[in-house]
């Protein structure tokens, strides 16, 4: 016992640290057990339910998947959901990047004001934010009032329940998820690099395309990933601003479960949806890894 303590002491702090860490893994056990029971098991069960051939769950078979991929309507719903995410993510990046750029170039006082404006929507309830868009885009809403008073329209336009309205609302709702990682990456950027680029005669546009943008790729990837994942699953915004006119995967799953009680089909389209989203996420991750390699090179 004493001998062991002495050798441990002689071996130095590294060994002591290793023994301490050696016991610390047990602290992850409670959460790991919780996730095993209440996260992994339900998802596996979902896969199992999707393998029932009929809604009454009596026979096994791949019928649900055959049904999903055999119907052009289902594929259109999946396609439009995934494409909606792409549109929202691209627009969020277009507006979010300059905002993050502005943040890193502002003084400390301006920065705290900006961060408040950026974080507030993130913490405000999604229902409240979506409700705001109903007020803005509605028949008596702010956009229509403006258009009518400026004489640009004669009757109120239908903006709510259109895809354009939905994209605008989603861009606003998800913007913080894009801006925050971008701010992190842009703040870590070495300002000397831009100075060097300018000293060598590159204008601000060239400096931006050749220095700032490539070096901030990891932040862009992280932001796009979060924005994409959040906007394809935004059930509330999709159902309230999109209305009954457009059907996206989340409402489709909800409908099949709650209204039609067809669990196997709901499970199957959930799995298809999850796999598709994870596929896109993995693609983003691959790009992220590639861009990190680019940064170090």
């Amino acid at each position: 016992m004493t001998a062991a303590a002495i050798t441990a002491g002689l071996a130095g702090p590294a060994t002591a640290a290793r023994t301490r860490i050696g016991r610390e893994w047990t602290l992850a056990l409670p959460l790991a057990a919780f996730f095993a029971v209440f996260f992994v098991t339900p998802l596996l069960l979902l896969v199992a339910v999707s393998l029932f051939a009929d809604a009454e769950m009596t026979r096994f078979g791949l019928d649900q998947y055959v049904r999903f991929f055999g119907d052009a309507f289902n594929l259109a719903v999946l396609g439009s959901t995934l494409y909606l995410g792409v549109k929202v993510t691209a627009l969020t990046l277009l507006f979010g990047y300059p905002l993050a750029w502005l943040y890193t170039r502002s003084g400390p006082r301006m920065q705290s004001a900006l961060i408040l404006v950026i974080i507030l929507p993130l913490l405000t309830s999604v229902v409240v934010r979506t409700f705001a868009w109903i007020v803005i885009l509605g028949r008596d809403g702010i956009v229509n009032t403006l258009l009518l008073s400026l004489g640009l329209a004669e009757t109120p336009l239908r903006l709510l329940y259109t895809e354009g309205g939905l994209v605008a609302a989603l861009v606003q709702v998800q913007m913080p998820l894009m801006v925050l990682p971008l701010i992190t990456t842009l703040s870590r950027l070495d300002p000397n690099l831009l100075d060097a680029s300018a000293a060598l005669g590159a204008g601000p546009w060239r400096g931006f395309w050749k220095v700032t943008l490539p070096l901030s790729l990891p932040g862009i990837v992280a932001g796009c990933l979060l924005t994409y994942a959040a906007s394809v699953t935004a059930f509330i915004t999709q159902s309230l601003v999109g209305g009954g006119q457009m059907l996206f995967m989340p409402q489709y799953i909800y409908q099949q479960t709650i209204t039609l009680h067809n669990w196997p089909f709901a499970a199957a389209i959930s799995i298809v949806f999850m796999v598709s989203v994870l596929g896109v996420v993995m693609l983003f991750n691959l790009l992220g890894r590639a861009s990190k390699g680019y940064v170090h090179a």
Binding site: P13, A16, R20, I21, E24, W25, L27, A28, L31, A32, F34, F39, P42, L43, L46, V49, F95, L99, W101, L114, I115, V117, L120, T124, V126, V127, V128, R129, T130, F131, A132, W133, I134, V135, I136, G141, T145, V171, M175, V179, L180, P181, D195, A198, A199, G203, W205, A229, V232, T233, F235, P250, I253, Y254, I258, S270, I271, F273, M274, V277
Partner: protein, 271 residues
């Protein structure tokens, strides 16, 4: 910077384009909140903007809106329970995986974070299937379990980030000076990661209070939560009371944010 001394067409256009887009983004971020606040003080029966006249009548109408009050109470209770459990489970897990570079730690990290990228609605359905297969009736407890899964990642993320700033040399010197594990945790580790845990707890609470995808499947009639109730109001009748509830929620959120910024430096923890 050379271009500061000699403004060129390039630098002027660059500043103009970036400034305009950033300004548009700021307007887009701030305007909806302001629109809701102004609308909530309307005197009329519709969501007309700008309102024809102003009054506090819709706020007054909340006093006997017992269905909304009940839903708010359930959401608050749920948020408290979910946050408490998430903080305990999340902090313990962060301590375990934060200092390890091993494969199992990376694997667990990915597993615990996956509810953030996985479509939450699919998980909500999976939970419903799980509990009904197990023969467990939906209750406040099953709802809380579902919420914890999607709230834990926030605590884990902020705690891991603050743990990364803890110098391992501090732990070693504390230990070599004879401090036990719990003493070291209380006097060295905890003070360093306290802000990270605090910010994570705050976001976990907000995410539970605002959760729809899990509640959609897991909330039963006795445990109706506020966001679902609001969604039903908006979907069915566009009741102006929704504006007043939104006004209250915005006020509470801003207040909580300011407090958290002072106490835990929230904005630094979020990045």
């Amino acid at each position: 910077m050379p271009d500061m001394q000699r403004p060129t067409l390039g630098s002027a256009s660059f500043g103009l384009v970036m400034g305009t887009l950033a300004g548009a983004a700021l307007l887009l971020l701030a305007a909806p909140t302001l629109v809701v606040l102004v609308t909530s003080f309307t005197d009329g029966y519709s969501l007309k903007f700008p309102p024809p006249a102003y009054s506090l009548r819709w706020y007054a109408s909340l006093i006997d809106a017992w269905q909304l009050q009940d839903a708010a109470l359930v959401s608050l209770k749920l948020g408290a329970v979910v946050t408490a459990v998430s903080v305990v489970l999340g902090t313990a897990a962060a301590l375990a995986i934060g200092r390890s570079r091993r494969a199992w730690a990376r694997g667990l990290d990915a597993l615990f974070m996956s509810p953030l990228v996985l479509p939450a609605l699919a998980f909500g359905l999976a939970s419903l299937v799980f509990f009904s297969t197990a023969g467990v009736e939906l209750s406040f407890l099953t709802l809380a379990v579902g919420h914890i899964v999607v709230s834990v990642p926030y605590v884990l993320r902020t705690t891991l980030a603050s743990l990364a700033q803890l110098d391992p040399a501090l732990l070693e010197s504390s230990e070599s000076l004879g401090a036990g594990r719990f003493y070291t945790f209380r006097r060295v580790t905890l003070p360093t990661i306290r802000n990270g845990i605090g910010a994570g707890a705050f976001i976990a609470f907000m995410s539970s209070f605002d959760n729809i995808p899990v509640s959609l499947f897991m909330a039963d009639a006795r445990n109706e939560v506020l966001p679902i109730r609001m969604w039903q109001i908006l979907e069915n009748s566009l009741d102006v009371r929704a504006a007043a509830v939104s006004g209250v929620l915005i006020a509470v959120t801003v207040l909580a944010m300011v407090v958290m910024e002072r106490v835990a430096g929230l904005s630094r923890q979020l990045r």
